[in-house]
Symmetry: C2
């Protein structure tokens, strides 16, 4: 136990709460840690709560009673999210991102941990009130998004492999049809990687028709698990409604049809920013 | 500009600094943000600095002069690191982690973002004073470690692929020999993924003889890039000194020879915890 002044206590509690999101912390933990009265701790939490809520960085939930305590829920205000996404849309519209065959270079964006952290915070904000047991993605590019989202939600990540990897023990494989390329692929998940009846948030970096995500949803059925939500960083509008395999998802950006001759394309904020899309409860 | 009381300012500054590690922030940024005198901001930073240093969560560097400001360097005290690593060693010694063929189940450990975050903080602590331009790993399992490390160092991640992926443009491939399995593999890096003459921190989840990491080092030469350091979560001692391809690295854990019959093995803290291994400058 160490005695700290209020100012030092506030700094330490802020660090502690930010490092332990979505975790119930009994007030006695703080009271004992700092040798302070619960009433002082409550006052401190009031100050932190006010700052988080006015900044839109998160909510501080207080649960009363013997099993009570405080829980920090990281959030991102819609305003701040839109600002960041609009910057990113501009960046993605650069013609030098176009690769032969209508492919699209996203790797440098996905390689920025700070940015991925913000993206994860957006998804964590959207899905904060859903009952979720884990965050799932398929290798490789969705991995940083899955980890960033899961970190803010304090959940484990379940990683679907594209091959059967010998180091994971017995596994379930399924074949799925990529909706846009009409080709058949395999994905595999280790038996011990996912508990039966889990509620799973599925995320990925890019979605055209939704074949890959649909594949993951098929795989979930093999584990009697259910989809708690779907989030994609970029969705392509270069697909007809008939071709689209998935309709219930949250996207942060939308790319239009790519003109491979003029290398022109448009990138706009995704359906998260449509009308009354739910976005946590916090606004700066 | 918003006027905030010191208590609220401390909470907000702490959040801001934690969200922007290894980033120089001019004092005027804070002064203008809060409509406070620079002297008050300096006092606030003094309080934050004291808490970070006594907790071992980081250092707050103050750079004087016109181009000056403050920089938060996340750290992990050696004491705290050892505590966490010893817990993890215990966890990894469980016999049900053994898979047929002497393989080893690490996936659930790697699937915990909070834990990966702590692991990344340890590497960021060790390599905080090195000149590094980016963190590199090869897909798949090292990815969360690379992102967590890079996030704390405020650096981009460069991901080496095991196949040539069409969506990344022109690329360099090399073949390398896995030292333990004596088999030949390929790894590929997109030309635009790494700038020439970069200084690169290489990380991975597991190392036996070091063939995979050596492969990455070979690949770096193709980009005239250099190795700024190597970090692995687990090293296997199940290799002779002659077989070992790499000698200069930091490991957090060491596994001994696995007895496939009794399923017994030992897992111990890695060379980071040996004698006078450098570990940032902070101790709680």
């Amino acid at each position: 136990m160490k005695k700290l002044k209020r100012s030092a206590r506030l700094v330490e509690m802020t660090q502690y709460l930010m490092s332990n999101p979505h975790t119930l912390i009994p007030l006695t933990t703080f009271a004992e840690r700092y040798g302070a009265a619960k009433s002082s701790i409550s006052e401190d939490l009031g100050i932190i709560k006010e700052v988080c809520e006015s900044e839109g960085t998160g909510e501080l939930l207080t649960l009363a009673g013997a099993a009570g305590g405080v829980k920090f829920i990281p959030k991102c205000s819609k305003e701040r999210a839109l600002e960041l996404i609009e910057e990113l849309c501009n960046e993605l519209q650069q013609p030098d991102r176009m690769l032969p065959g209508g492919y699209y270079y996203l790797t440098d964006i996905l390689g920025q941990p700070g940015l991925m952290n913000e993206i994860g915070r957006m998804f964590a904000s959207v899905f904060a009130d859903h009952e979720i047991d884990c965050v799932m993605t398929v290798e490789t590019k969705g991995i940083p998004i899955a980890y960033a989202t899961a970190a803010h939600l304090n959940l484990p990540v379940v990683l679907v492999r594209r091959d059967h990897v010998v180091t994971e023990g017995s596994a379930v494989s399924i074949n799925y049809v990529s909706g846009s390329q009409k080709s058949i692929h395999t994905m595999t998940l280790a038996r011990r990687a996912l508990k039966e009846r889990s509620r799973v948030l599925v995320v990925d970096d890019f979605m055209r028709a939704g074949g890959t995500i649909n594949g993951m949803i098929e795989l979930l059925k093999e584990f009697n698990a259910t989809v708690a939500g779907v989030g994609v960083l970029v969705e392509s509008k270069d697909v007809t409604n008939d071709e689209r395999l998935l309709h219930d998802y949250v996207s942060l950006m939308r790319v239009g049809t790519i003109d491979t001759r003029t290398r022109q394309m448009s990138v706009k904020p995704g359906n998260l920013f449509d009308k009354n899309m739910e976005f946590g409860t916090e606004e700066a």
